[in-house]
């Protein structure tokens, strides 16, 4: 998430529908909504904010494939070169059963990669975000929906934005510097 230190207006709404409406409204008025906070993933929010699709699957896929390949390589090397033994007349490279372990660890790798990717993509963990300076934000994890709009330079524009947001049934509007 791009963390430019800039002022922004944060508006509080009662319902996800109000939020979405407010975003549309603000866009129509030529403002640029930055982000929204919601207690659950609101359907259509990404589209409203024009957020691109998440790329989180790529690291998962890549790491999974690499680790699985590594696992098979390890099996092959240990069973065929490092410690070749006659085991029940089985071939040294028992390919029919060797894929089992790579499968398991591959999926594990995908999971680990996914979690790591989530944290990096979201810039987490970050326990001291400026948003938390506003107590009302607490309800973003409960029953309130917040919209972040980048504050315009001119004071007149800022005033207009505030009225726009309040017009969009915002309970409270407040300017924070993010």
């Amino acid at each position: 998430m791009r963390e430019a230190k800039e002022p922004a207006f944060v508006a509080e709404f009662r319902s996800p529908s109000d939020l979405i409406a407010a975003i549309r409204h603000a866009l129509d008025q030529g403002f640029r909504p930055l982000d929204a906070l919601s207690p659950y993933p609101v359907e259509g929010l990404d589209e409203a904010l024009r957020l691109p699709k998440s790329t989180i699957r790529w690291p998962m896929l890549i790491l999974a494939v690499c680790v699985a390949a590594l696992a098979y390589a390890l099996q092959y090397w240990t069973a065929v070169y490092a410690y070749p033994i006659h085991s029940g007349g089985r071939p040294l490279n028992s390919w029919p059963i060797f894929p089992l372990v790579p499968f398991e660890v591959g999926i594990l790798a995908a999971g680990v990669a996914g979690f790591a990717a989530l944290l990096t993509l979201c810039g987490l963990p970050r326990v001291n975000h400026p948003l938390f300076d506003w107590d009302a934000i607490e309800r973003a994890t409960d029953d309130r929906y917040f919209l972040l709009v980048g504050a315009p330079e001119e004071a007149s524009e800022s005033r207009r934005l505030r009225t726009v947001l309040e017009g969009a049934r915002a309970i409270r509007v407040r300017e924070l510097s993010l």
């Binding site: 998430m1 996800p16 982000d35 906070l37 919601s38 207690p39 659950y40 993933p41 609101v42 359907e43 929010l45 990404d46 957020l51 699709k53 998440s54 989180i56 699957r57 998962m60 390890l74 099996q75 240990t78 069973a79 490092a82 410690y83 033994i85 085991s87 028992s94 059963i97 060797f98 089992l100 372990v101 499968f103 398991e104 660890v105 999926i107 594990l108 995908a110 999971g111 680990v112 996914g114 990717a117 989530l118 944290l119 993509l121 979201c122 987490l124 963990p125 970050r126 326990v127 001291n128 975000h129 948003l131 938390f132 934000i137 607490e138 309800r139 973003a140 994890t141 409960d142 029953d143």
Partner: protein, 456 residues
């Protein structure tokens, strides 16, 4: 509605509401967080103390086991495996249901799973960690369990990759870690919710656990994608894990074990016993934490149907086993089949069939599905039956194999029983703690469901 959900929620006529109103975002938060914010009640403390005693007894048993050797169990020269392996398979089976619920049901759009997925996943974590102990406890020299792992040892030896136990090692490890990630990802936003409602030291604790989650749309976007992907990955993982457990037996040449049907039939059996536990946990939690609004008749209805379906599949599996043994015409296989019904353990075998196949047929009747006592009874029966199934797979084959001179019967000792019941208290002990520190219901999922149903 998708066909899958039709199976789970019955015909539209019979469909009960998933959530009992009146409910809104705030109500959900209050319901779920209340148990965490208020001090534990007397009932909790009593239960916790009882389980602590059980936990200590189990630890004492482990101490005795490590100091005296596995000889304290009833295992013998022929029946070299006993309760430890049966318990292992039983627990890992239970451990499967949680992830199945929140992966398979996510993929099949079963909205009712939302309320139960969280504690079902917790159940998975605890069950799998307990299950993971047994393979180590059952070793003759447990201090060397790490020899199953590949590392550049000074002896320059490596694991024997053809052994099902090595597959187990990797399957259990992968499954446990993956489940932890899956669970933590799920609970992350809820920790944020609790963080913002709690105060004092706990606020800091939850603050750390929440990693600074804010519910930002830019986060939700990755979050949702990750959750779906993990669910998609968890499903094959769960199936593979119990298939591999099935291979512990199937990848042998002993009569009664060498059966290709074992992997799928172990997976179903796992789901079977897992759901039985979830049913009982759901009852305890909805009553104990006052969440009847979130865990409703609809849930029990759906889970009862899953168990019914599983029992039918189990019946078919047994039948196919018997058919294969007879049709294969092999002397040893046929003899074993006869032995199962007439041998030393025939009473247990009948009991197993009754618990797993006969009793669950009650659930064909809606009135039975609606009755909590019936559900509890059937669930307990299933758990007993599934444990019997696992121990009988071991006992019958090892007690009665190719050469009569080595036919030996297994006689359990007091230590066998301790290692059967002790871990149940350990499980309850962990679960009680879980109820006190983590939101037992995924609030963001429920809110989503709430809004979607509201939208309908």
């Amino acid at each position: 509605m998708s066909s899958a959900s039709a199976f789970a929620s019955g015909s539209a006529r019979a469909k009960a509401p998933t959530l009992l109103g009146p409910l809104d975002d705030r109500a959900v938060t209050d319901l779920v967080c209340a148990p965490l914010l208020r001090p534990a009640g007397l009932r909790w403390w009593v239960a916790f103390l009882v389980c602590t005693v059980g936990l200590i007894a189990t630890l004492a048993g482990i101490y005795k086991l490590f100091s005296a050797g596995v000889g304290i169990w009833g295992i013998n020269t022929s029946v070299v495996w006993g309760y430890a392996i049966a318990n292992y398979v039983w627990w890992i089976g239970i451990g499967n249901a949680g992830t199945l619920i929140s992966s398979l049901l996510v993929l099949t759009r079963q909205d009712w799973r939302a309320s139960i997925s969280r504690f079902a996943e917790a159940m998975t974590l605890f069950a799998v960690s307990i299950a993971g102990l047994f393979p180590i406890l059952h070793l003759g020299r447990p201090l060397y369990f790490y020899w199953l792992a590949p590392y550049p040892a000074s002896m320059q030896v490596w694991p024997q990759w053809r052994s099902a136990l090595v597959w187990d090692f990797w399957a259990i490890t992968s499954y446990l870690i993956f489940s932890i990630i899956f669970w933590y990802v799920g609970v992350l936003p809820d920790f944020a919710t609790v963080r913002d409602r709690s105060s004092g030291a706990w606020r800091k604790v939850y603050g750390l656990l929440a990693l600074g989650w804010r519910g930002s749309a830019r986060h939700w976007r990755h979050y949702r994608r990750l959750q779906i992907t993990l669910a998609a990955l968890a499903t094959p993982l769960v199936c593979s894990v119990h298939s591999i457990v099935g291979l512990d037996f199937a990848a042998s040449l002993m009569p009664g074990w060498r059966e290709p049907i074992f992997p799928p039939y172990f997976v179903v059996g796992a789901m079977y016993s897992g759901f039985a536990v979830v049913v009982m946990l759901s009852i305890v939690i909805s009553r104990g934490l006052g969440l009847q609004q979130l865990i409703t008749a609809r849930h029990f209805e759906a889970m009862a149907k899953v168990m019914l379906m599983s029992s039918v599949v189990m019946g078919l599996s047994y039948a196919s086993e018997w058919f294969a043994a007879w049709y294969g015409g092999n002397r040893a296989d046929r003899a074993l089949l006869v032995y199962e019904f007439t041998g030393a353990y025939w009473k247990l075998y009948i009991a197993m069939l009754t618990c797993n196949i006969v009793a669950p047929q009650l659930l064909w009747f809606p009135v039975m599905r609606a009755s909590v006592p019936v559900l509890v009874g059937v669930s307990i029966g299933i758990l007993v039956g599934m444990w019997l199934e696992r121990i009988l797979i071991i006992w019958n084959t090892l007690s009665y194999s190719f050469l009569p001179s080595m036919d030996r019967i297994f006689f359990p000792t007091v230590w066998d029983w301790l290692f059967l019941f002790g871990p149940m208290f350990v499980f309850a002990w962990m679960f009680l703690l879980f109820c006190r520190v983590a939101p037992v219901v995924p609030m963001h999922d429920v809110r989503e469901l709430l809004h979607r149903e509201g939208a309908r």
